[in-house]
Structure formats: structure tokens, C-alpha cells
């Protein structure tokens, strides 16, 4: 990937308007051109040229699609199951709940881990955002947002701030402080402004930029300090429900999934939609990159999770079972990428073997939908947040272990 993008011109004078802008690499009849996003839009919206009709354009679309399918078919020479036969089988996995974090008064909608591997931020329907030290189960900070349904929350890479948003159409950043009595809401910074609800947000590699996705069908990249919009991404025809940033060395792309059943891969710099996958039958609730950055998994309301290969540009595996009929709400990979954890709307969590495509374990314990699920940054445990107002941290049950009976001291009621 690194080699391919070496000489691509991503910023410079646009071929059409000659202004210095982030450029999209397009091809018009196999001729490469570099247009800025504005010129591309103008070109697309130009009136129909002579001899062109809507029908002819649609016919062209069909031929291009067929050609693309043919090309991809030529490269499709083996299935994942065949290649995975070499991989050794997994032993039995016995997961136990190690911590139960109680303190939210309403449905937990979203959660995120801090890079220090033990702290968690979680947000709920009643507007409360709580920062926990999951290891000791202490609550460290609590913020009450002026809105309900806080559907997105994220921890900054430095550990010094959190971002959250929901029905208020904004993403707000709260710097955390060591002083326990300080009112965090006083230093709040409104960063993102969308025209509809905020469905997902994440910091990029630093505290200074935030990537958000919204119900209005767009995603956007913002500068935290000034609140300026750096880049916006248009292409979904319905609500964008989820996004994930690529972990790769170049770190230039992210994937978003939406209500239009499509998962799109975007270039952060130019705003161009680079790849698109639309094999799902229903809304895509969550997308997550594979640890190596060459693939991503998606969870959807059609009760399946799917793995998409970015280099071969196709779907490689479907994780589904007849006995699983309810939609999947959230997915995440374990550190090696061998296990895929998925939380479902029937209150269970299924653990899949990514390579062999079989289910390894099913976990119970939540009393309502599992709304979000994330593996900790060093892979030592995973946390699931649910509509039953609790979060559970789980790990393997081999050997010794103690289930926590009572929560630790609470600093905030």
C-alpha cells in the first residue's frame, strides 16, 4: 500500500480550476486526471451532452459494472476456507466476566478504551458520559451532556480528553483534568456540526483531529482547536451509522458503513470514495478493520457479519448461522485477528473463528441488547456495553480467576 501511494499527487493545482486543493485521482475514459472535489461535482452535474440520455448513462454503468465483475472474477482463485486449512484449530474458549461496571441509569450506547489499556469511556441514553478505570471499577469522571441518546463517544490517544455526541448533531470534546471537583462541562468545546444526529466519532492519530459520521449521510474530518471542517465525505445515500480508521502505516483511509447497505472506503486527504462493498442485505451497524489493515469486518441487521478483503476488493467470508436470527450490532477483532467478537440484538455475544468461519463460543449474561463491543488496545480483554445499563469486561477462564462481586468505591454518584 505504501508503495502504491508514493507518487500519487494528492495536493496541488487542480487540472480544471488550477487552484491548490486536495485532489482526487480520477479516470475519464482511461485518461488519468486530477480534479479537486468541487470540479468533480461540477463535472458530474453538467447537463446532458448531446447524444447522452439517462438511459445511455445507465447502460454505460451496467457495462462498467459487468467489466469490473469479470476482472475481479479472474483474480478470485481460492476461497478462505481452503487457505485456512493450514491454520491449526482453536482450543475451547471459556470466557468469564471479570468486571461488571454498573452506574449508568439508562441504556449504554457506546464505549471506547483508552490507550493505557485499562480506562474506558461510555455514554448512555440519558446523556451521561462516564470515564471508568475498569481495572479498579472506579468512576473517574462523569459528564452530563445537554442531550439524550449519546450514540458516539471516543477517548483521545493521549488520554487527556474525550469526545461525544448524539442527538444534538454536534461532537463535543471535553478535556479531562486531574482535579476531581472540576466541572468538565465548563471547558467543553463544540467541534463538529452536522445537520442530523451523530452516529460515530473517533480521534485520528492525535488529539487534534476528529472524524465523525452522521445520520445526514456524510462523514467529516474536523480540526479540534478551531472547529474547522477539514474534509467532508459524501457518497452514502442514507444514514452513515459507523466508521473506523485504518491502522496501517500510511493511515490515510477509513471505512464507513451505512443504512444503504454499503460499506465505503475513503481517502482522508482528498475525500474520494476509493472502494465500495454492497453485499449486505440490511443496514450495516458496525465496521472494524482487521489488525493488519488489509481487510475489515462488518455487522449488520441481516444477522450476518462479513469479512471484506481490501486488496482483492471482494467479500471473503460470511459469519452466520441458522440459529442466529437477530441483527448484529457491533464487532471487533482480537489482537491476532483470529477471533471476531460480535454482539447481537438477542442479548448474546458470538465469538467466530475468522479463518475457518465457524462459531467458537456463545456468551450470555446481558439482559438486553449488546450495543457496543471493543477489545482492549493490548488485547487482554474485551468490554461489551448493553442496553441493560451495564458494561462487562470479559476474558478467558482458563486457570484461576475471580468474578468481582461488588463495585469499587465510586467517586461520582
Amino acid at each position: 500500500m505504501c508503495d502504491q501511494t508514493f507518487l500519487a499527487i494528492t495536493f496541488g493545482p487542480c487540472d480544471s480550476c488550477s487552484e491548490n486543493r486536495p485532489l482526487m485521482n480520477l479516470y475519464i475514459k482511461t485518461e488519468p486526471i486530477n480534479y479537486c472535489s468541487l470540479c468533480m461535482e461540477i463535472m458530474a452535474c453538467q447537463g446532458l451532452a448531446s447524444g447522452e440520455t439517462l438511459k445511455s448513462l445507465k447502460a454505460e454503468s451496467e457495462t462498467l459494472r459487468k467489466k469490473l465483475e469479470e476482472e475481479r472474477k479472474k483474480l478470485h482463485d481460492v476461497e478462505l476456507e481452503k487457505v485456512a486449512e493450514k491454520a491449526e484449530a482453536l482450543g475451547e474458549l471459556n470466557m468469564k466476566t471479570r468486571r461488571t461496571l454498573k452506574g449508568h441509569g439508562n441504556k449504554v450506547l457506546c464505549m471506547d478504551w483508552c490507550k493505557d489499556k485499562r480506562r474506558i469511556v461510555s455514554s448512555s441514553q440519558d446523556g451521561k458520559v462516564i470515564v471508568w478505570d475498569a481495572f479498579t471499577t472506579n468512576k473517574e469522571h462523569a459528564v452530563t451532556m445537554p442531550t439524550t441518546w449519546v450514540m458516539a463517544c471516543a477517548y483521545a490517544p493521549s488520554g487527556c480528553a474525550i469526545a461525544c455526541g448524539g442527538l444534538d448533531n454536534k461532537c463535543s470534546v471535553y478535556p479531562l483534568s486531574l482535579d476531581k471537583d472540576e466541572n468538565l462541562a465548563a471547558k467543553k468545546k463544540s467541534v463538529a456540526m452536522h445537520t442530523n444526529y451523530l452516529s460515530g466519532c473517533t480521534f485520528t492519530n492525535s488529539d487534534m483531529q476528529i472524524l465523525t459520521s452522521s445520520g445526514d449521510g456524510t462523514s467529516a474530518l474536523w480540526d479540534v482547536e478551531s472547529g474547522q471542517l477539514l474534509q467532508s465525505f459524501h457518497g452514502h445515500s442514507a444514514d452513515v451509522l459507523t466508521l473506523d480508521l485504518a491502522p496501517s502505516e500510511t493511515g490515510n483511509t477509513f471505512v464507513s458503513g451505512g443504512s444503504d447497505k454499503k460499506a465505503n472506503v475513503w481517502d482522508l486527504r482528498s475525500g474520494q470514495n476509493v472502494q465500495s462493498f454492497d453485499t449486505h442485505d440490511s443496514d450495516i451497524n458496525c465496521v472494524k478493520y482487521y489488525p493488519s489493515g488489509d481487510a475489515f469486518a462488518s455487522a449488520s441487521d441481516d444477522s450476518t457479519c462479513r469479512l471484506f478483503d481490501l486488496r482483492a476488493d471482494r467479500e471473503v467470508s460470511i459469519y452466520s448461522k441458522d440459529s442466529i436470527m437477530f441483527g448484529a450490532a457491533s464487532v471487533d477483532f482480537s489482537l491476532s485477528g483470529r477471533l471476531l467478537f460480535a454482539g447481537y440484538n438477542d442479548y448474546t455475544i458470538n465469538v467466530w473463528d475468522v479463518l475457518k468461519g465457524t462459531r467458537v463460543a456463545i456468551l450470555f449474561g446481558h439482559e438486553n441488547r449488546v450495543s457496543s463491543l471493543r477489545v482492549s488496545p493490548d488485547g487482554t480483554a474485551f468490554c461489551s456495553g448493553s442496553w441493560d445499563n451495564t458494561l462487562r469486561v470479559r476474558q478467558e477462564g482458563r486457570g484461576v480467576g475471580r468474578e468481582l462481586k461488588q463495585g469499587g468505591t465510586t467517586l461520582y454518584g
Binding site: 467489466k67 442527538l167 486488496r311 485477528g337
Partner: protein, 481 residues
């Protein structure tokens, strides 16, 4: 209580409830007289109710049909009750499947979730009014609350509602007693699912509606088709990789990282979440003197793994200092900072980077080819976030393909491999584990750690500044002997 504006989606299977299509097929099979769950007549308060099933039979049937464990079947059965496909006869507010002789009945398809969606307030008002008449004003407290609310909101329609309710009440009286009881049970079950009393578990709550109706036909105007064509042309020109190549890469990644995944290999000394001792995190922290063997093995896997691990980066920088090529890493880090940093800092940072790394005769001049240097310097005239991309990629590839391999062969690394720790796995007795639970280490707050790191960075920046010989001579610091 929310009064929702009525939105007609014109179809029965809303996408968020797409799952119900399969569930309904399943429920129909369950009710099959030959191969389904066996029901019997049951006497309940004088009346005989037909087709009553008990929880145990339902569970056994699900286990056989879906070939799953009892626990999973129990979970699925509870979902069926929560959605209202099966309703309990006695404890009608508890919407779970109890696997014993608790009695249930299948809900009539008329009352299935997708058939009458959304459950309308006016229907609920009529139902409550009728219940009011029947019970002569003795409604349950939550029902009474709803009734009062509806009365307030639907005041203009209230005469119509009461009229409908009395009509239905009279019509009901004409029915035979068993039919009346059954119908009453069914209706009550329906309303418990759609207007659950507090602390009842109904699955009807699905969260927020989507903004854009995903079932609406996408109107394809010519510009939408044009954009699709542009996208498809670009997709055709981009080269893809053979499946065998990329899939083998996945398997390789999984295999090489197998030993580092705490879910597959128990971490040493112990997983903090299991034994409540955070020694694992302390041994792998950024400032530890001697890293663990597992960490060192991970660094060997790829250059990216080496610099992603903070301790690994420290080691690599040490090696670079010995080789006197530390400017490459410094440039990479500075470029990263500019790329991901605040927009207001860009002009200042780009100036600093130019003066330190790119200017001819700069103190930490980096060695990149002429073309890239030309592009970068030209771009720096009007600095923007991605102006250093080409140079940064060049330096990264240089480090990845050349410096990294030299690092692996270097004495710095080999020495580290020898000295790396293999911590002994913890063996705690029960008493010790209990003690661990009580004495969980709160650790350092990430804010403090961040402040420490910033201070270290500032100190390093000062130390790396080139020494100005003239200034030192002027202040007589250099002794000319």
C-alpha cells in the same frame, strides 16, 4: 409517553426488523400440528383454554430443531416471548421463557409485531377504555397513567373512542366464554409487548428511527449515475491482488501473531484482568529498562510493529543515535506531528521543519532524492497539512527497507534479545488472589503520563538543538587552550 408522528413506510418488514421475517417462518413451523410443539387443553379458572403449551416442550423443540445447546435455546425462546410470538398465561408481565411447566400460548398472527405496526395510540385508547368499562374503573396503575395521558392528548376524539369501546364491549358479550377469555388474553399480551409497563422486558424498543427511509426507491438522476460511472472507471483502473495472495497474507498474520494474542496464549506473568495484578502492564510500559522477550519478538515481525510499541521506538532511536542517522526518525516524527496536528500550527511547524531538515546546510539535513526534495520545497511555499507526504513516505520506506534490517543485525538489538526478560507465570493461592482484589493498583493517570512525555520531548528537543559555536565563544564558554 411519546406521541409519534405516523410515518407510513408502505411495507411490513422494516429493515431494522428484517430479522422477524426468519423468525416468523420459524414460529409457523413451531405451530405445525404434526411436527410442531404439542399443545393441550388446559383448565384455567373454570374455563378450558385450547392449545396451551408449556415452557419445557418449547425449549426441547427448539433444541432439536436448531441443534443448539439448552442455554442458546433458552435465549432464543425468551426472544420469541419478548417479541410477542408466544405469550405466558399466568404471569403475563414477565416476558421470558421459563423451561418448566409454565403455560404459554401462541399469539394469533393478527397480533404479530409486523402485522400491526406501529401500534397506534388510538387503538390503545380504545382498548383501555373498553377495559375500563369491563373492570368498572379498576385499571392497573400503569394502565391508569396511560389512560389519563391519552385522555388529555386525545380529548377531541374521546367521544369516538368511548363509542367504539362500548360497541366492542357489547359485541364481546355476545361471544362464548372460552373465546372471550382467549381473545382477552391475546389482546392483553399484545399490549404488554407494545406498551410495556415499567421493568418489563419487551423487545419492541429498537432505538431511534433512521433519518432516511432505506426502503424508499433511490431516485437515479443523471448526476448520480455519472458519479457512479466515474467511481466504476476509477475502480477498473485500480489494480487488485489475487485472492490466494491476500488470503495467504491473512493466515500468515494470524500465525505470526498467535503468541501475542492474550485470548489464544496466556500472557506472562499473568493477565491483569484475571489475577488482578497489573505486573503485565508494568513490564511492558514505555519506561521500563529491560523489555520482555515477547515484546522483543514482536518488534522483529515488522518495522511498523517496532515503532508502534513505545518501548520499541526508544530502542530504535538508541540504535539510530549510534549510527548517527537519528535525523530520519526525527523528521518522520515531526512530519507526523504536522499531519495530525492543529491547523493553526502548520505554518510554524513547516518553517521549523524546513529550517531543521530540508534547507541546504540544515543542521539535521535528511538525504532524499532530488525530485522529492524539489516537490517538497516547492510545496512549502504554501504549506498545508500533507505537503511533507512524499518526503515522509520516502524516509519511511528507507527506514523500513534498509535501516530496520541493519537494526536487527546490530549489537544493540542482539544484546536486548539476550537480556530480555521471561517473567515467571504467577501462581497465586486463593488467599493471595483475594488480597490482589483488595489492593488493585490505581496506576498513573494518563494525563500525568502525557505531561511527563511532553516534558521529556521538550528536553530532548533542547538537547538536539545544534550548538552555536559563535555564541559559546562569545560567552567564553569555550576555553581556547
Amino acid at each position: 409517553m411519546t406521541i409519534r408522528t405516523l410515518r407510513d413506510y408502505g411495507q411490513h418488514y422494516r429493515p431494522r426488523m428484517a430479522c422477524l421475517k426468519n423468525v416468523e417462518v420459524f414460529v409457523v413451523e413451531m405451530q405445525d400440528p404434526k411436527s410442531g410443539v404439542k399443545g393441550a387443553d388446559q383448565k384455567l379458572n373454570v374455563t378450558i383454554i385450547p392449545h396451551v403449551i408449556n415452557g419445557q416442550d418449547v425449549l426441547a423443540w427448539i433444541v432439536t430443531k436448531m441443534k443448539v445447546t439448552t442455554e442458546e435455546a433458552q435465549a432464543f425462546g425468551t426472544m420469541l416471548v419478548a417479541y410477542g410470538y408466544i405469550y405466558p398465561l399466568q404471569n403475563h408481565r414477565k416476558l421470558v421463557l421459563v423451561p418448566d411447566s409454565t403455560l404459554y400460548r401462541f399469539q394469533t398472527p393478527y397480533f404479530w409485531p409486523v402485522q400491526k405496526w406501529p401500534a397506534e395510540d388510538i387503538d390503545y385508547a380504545i382498548y383501555l377504555a373498553r377495559r375500563n368499562i369491563r373492570k368498572k374503573g379498576m385499571l392497573e396503575p400503569y394502565e391508569q397513567q396511560h389512560y389519563d395521558n391519552l385522555h388529555k392528548w386525545m380529548n377531541p376524539k374521546w367521544d369516538f373512542i368511548v363509542m367504539q369501546a362500548t360497541e366492542q364491549y357489547k359485541a364481546n358479550k355476545e361471544r362464548k366464554k372460552p373465546d372471550r377469555v382467549v381473545l382477552d388474553c391475546q389482546e392483553r399480551a399484545y399490549w404488554i409487548v407494545h406498551r410495556p409497563p415499567r421493568r418489563t422486558h419487551s423487545a419492541m424498543d429498537y432505538g431511534l428511527d433512521r433519518l432516511i427511509d432505506p426502503n424508499a426507491e433511490e431516485v437515479l438522476t443523471f448526476d448520480v449515475v455519472r458519479r457512479t460511472n466515474i467511481f466504476l472507471t476509477q475502480a477498473l483502473m485500480r489494480s487488485a491482488v489475487k485472492s490466494s495472495v491476500s488470503l495467504t497474507a491473512f493466515v500468515k498474520f494470524v500465525t505470526t501473531h498467535h503468541n501475542h494474542d492474550p485470548f489464544l496464549t496466556t500472557p506472562v506473568p499473568s493477565n491483569p484482568w484475571i489475577t488482578d495484578s497489573d505486573e503485565f502492564w508494568q513490564l511492558n510500559s514505555r519506561s521500563v529498562d529491560i523489555p520482555t522477550k515477547l515484546s522483543v519478538e514482536r518488534w522483529v515481525l515488522s518495522f511498523w510493529e517496532l515503532i508502534s510499541d513505545p518501548r520499541g521506538r526508544v530502542d530504535f532511536k538508541l540504535f539510530l543515535k549510534k549510527e548517527h542517522s537519528a535525523e530520519n526518525m526525527a523528521f518522520y516524527e515531526a512530519a507526523e506531528e504536522m499531519r495530525w496536528g492543529a491547523a493553526s500550527a502548520i505554518p510554524e511547524k513547516s518553517q521549523f521543519i524546513f529550517n531543521t531538515f530540508l534547507k541546504p546546510g540544515a543542521p539535521r539535513w535528511i538525504n532524499i532524492d532530488g525530485r522529492t526534495m524539489g516537490l517538497t520545497v516547492k510545496g512549502l511555499v504554501v504549506p498545508h497539512r500533507y505537503v511533507l507526504d512524499a518526503a515522509q513516505t520516502h524516509i519511511f520506506l528507507l527506514m523500513k527497507k534498509d535501516t530496520f534490517y541493519r537494526y536487527l543485525k546490530s549489537p544493540v538489538h542482539k544484546d536486548m534479545q539476550k537480556r530480555a526478560l521471561v517473567p515467571a507465570p504467577h501462581v497465586f493461592t486463593d488467599a493471595q488472589l483475594e488480597a490482589n482484589v483488595r489492593n488493585r493498583n490505581p496506576g498513573i493517570s494518563p494525563i500525568l503520563q502525557w505531561q511527563q512525555e511532553e516534558e521529556e520531548k521538550a528536553a530532548a528537543a533542547v538537547a538536539a538543538r545544534p550548538i552555536d559555536v559563535k555564541a559559546m565563544v562569545a560567552t567564553n564558554k569555550l576555553d581556547r587552550k
